[in-house]
């Protein structure tokens, strides 16, 4: 029933007939969702609160597994195999599919250690390599110039916007293939928001990006593809330009024109 436009891109992740149920719930929070995630593009998930966009995003790196009793149905294909498989190596999976959260999540350590954390987890111990990669990631996160002289300060000393860029730098330091953004600017001021947005646009050369946002202008500004969700279902998926100018579904039309949400 949903309108899912065929796209002419290399597909990185493919969600197929995917449903999700939270522990203790009797109904599915995501119902039979299917959509492709194009490689090296930005895909935005939009929809009113409670529509399941964050639930879907959090399924893509199986962060739901941290809490017992959550259930996945269907398939999410990544390089030809289903990541919902029981034997999936979640630790490995998450190093390849990174995530940025609603609020900045600087770890209780220095700026340097924050960025180096993922690398250290992967067993990188050589200081020279670490130094280089940290600098590179901070540059990638558009933060390097601001912090290069105080890399060993506590990460708490950074402003909110800086911390969010630090989190992005931390995520890209491990060179993931996909980055998931969960409303990354909802806690930030407009100037920091613009900085993050331009950062996201610049990142897509290297990684595939999925972003959840409740800000439709933001989706329009930065995404190539948009999926509109409502009440746990995917209503429409297609090129961003098309979704925002000429959607097929009435619901989509009403939502983007601000009739509800």
């Amino acid at each position: 029933m949903a309108t899912v436009d065929k796209i002419n891109e290399e597909i990185d992740l493919e969600v197929k007939n995917f449903s999700f149920r939270y522990a203790g719930s009797e109904t599915n929070s995501l119902k039979n969702v299917s959509l492709p995630i194009a490689k090296n593009k930005v895909t935005a998930l939009i929809g009113p609160s409670g529509c399941g966009k964050t639930t879907l995003l959090r399924s893509l790196n199986r962060i739901h597994d941290l809490y017992h009793g959550n259930k996945y149905f269907g398939e999410i294909k990544f390089e030809g195999h289903n990541i919902l498989d029981e034997n999936e190596d979640l630790i490995h999976l998450r190093t390849r599919i990174g995530m940025i959260f609603q609020k900045p999540t600087a770890f209780p350590m220095s700026i340097y250690d924050n960025v180096a954390y993922g690398l250290k987890l992967q067993g990188v111990r050589d200081h020279k390599i670490l130094d280089g990669k940290v600098a590179e990631a901070l540059k990638g996160g558009a933060l390097y110039d601001e912090v290069k002289n105080r890399l060993h300060d506590d990460a708490d000393s950074l402003s909110g916007g800086q911390q969010q860029r630090l989190c992005i730098a931390r995520a890209i330091a491990v060179e993931p293939e996909i980055l998931l953004f969960d409303e990354p600017t909802s806690a930030l001021d407009p100037i920091s928001t613009i900085a993050i947005e331009s950062l996201i646009k610049s990142l897509k050369d290297k990684v595939t990006i999925v972003i959840v946002t409740h800000n439709m202008q933001q989706a329009q500004r930065i995404s190539d593809y948009t999926a509109f969700m409502y009440l746990g279902e995917l209503i429409e998926f297609g090129k961003t330009s098309k979704i925002f100018s000429n959607p097929d579904e009435d619901l989509t039309k009403q939502y983007i024109s601000g009739k509800f949400g």
Binding site: I63, H92, K103, A106, P108, Y117, A171, V174
Partner: protein, 292 residues
Amino acid sequence: MHNKHSIKEMFFEHLTRFSAILVLFFLSAIFIVLIIKAYPAIHHFGFSFITEQKWAPNFELFGGLPAIYGSFISTLIAMLFAVPVAIGIAIFLSEISPKSLKAPMGVSIELLAAIPSVVYGMWGLFYLAPLMRDVFGGNGLGLFTAGLILAIMILPFISAITRDALNTTPKILKESAYALGATQWDVIKDIMIPYAKAGIVGSVILALGRAFGETMAVTFVMGNSHQIPNSIFAPATSIPSTLANEFSEVDSELYLSSLYFLALILFIISFIIIAFAKFYFLKNKRSRKIKK
């Protein structure tokens, strides 16, 4: 009308102020009384009291070292056992345990913290000491047994506070570490423990203060020997158990004064330990807040 109120107002305010000053009064009074009472011994022995080993009341010779040593070593043994186990319990309660176990186990551990220490002492004398005797030989009384009882006594206290501190780690912070490919242990050691560190260290220091000043749990099993033992399984004594054993039975001024000297030393050390924990807690409260 107005006047009546302002008299009452003044009266009430001064009453509360007076009560607050009482706290200051009691604490200073404890210090002053201890110093006055300890003065004859301080004057007679000087600071060599702290380094002198011989405790021979029949010769009017009093050295505090064995008691001070016993207090330190038994507390050290207690911390060595209690800290890892308590943190283990806290990690279990906060991260590993199935949900259905969390609440009952958490509450029962908190309730165990409320059991009077004299009960721990009784258990120690009748159950733990024989067990220690069978396992390690000797007579089962001494620093090791006392340390073990102290460890068990402070266990609930440290675990409860550590669990609470670990639970304050924001979910989103843990998730973002998992999203980087961290294992559960990575998250615990790199995120949760550093995040809760101040709380954990604070609780550990407070527990240390408690173990150091504990009387009843150790007096039963210390062995009460004013000798510096050559083994942790040999009988020893501690400051509080020396006081409990000998305080009401001294028959000379110098003897009593020496016991007050020990009490003064105990009070000062506890004061330092607690003040340190307090300082740590305070420092912690100001920093470390996730930005919103």
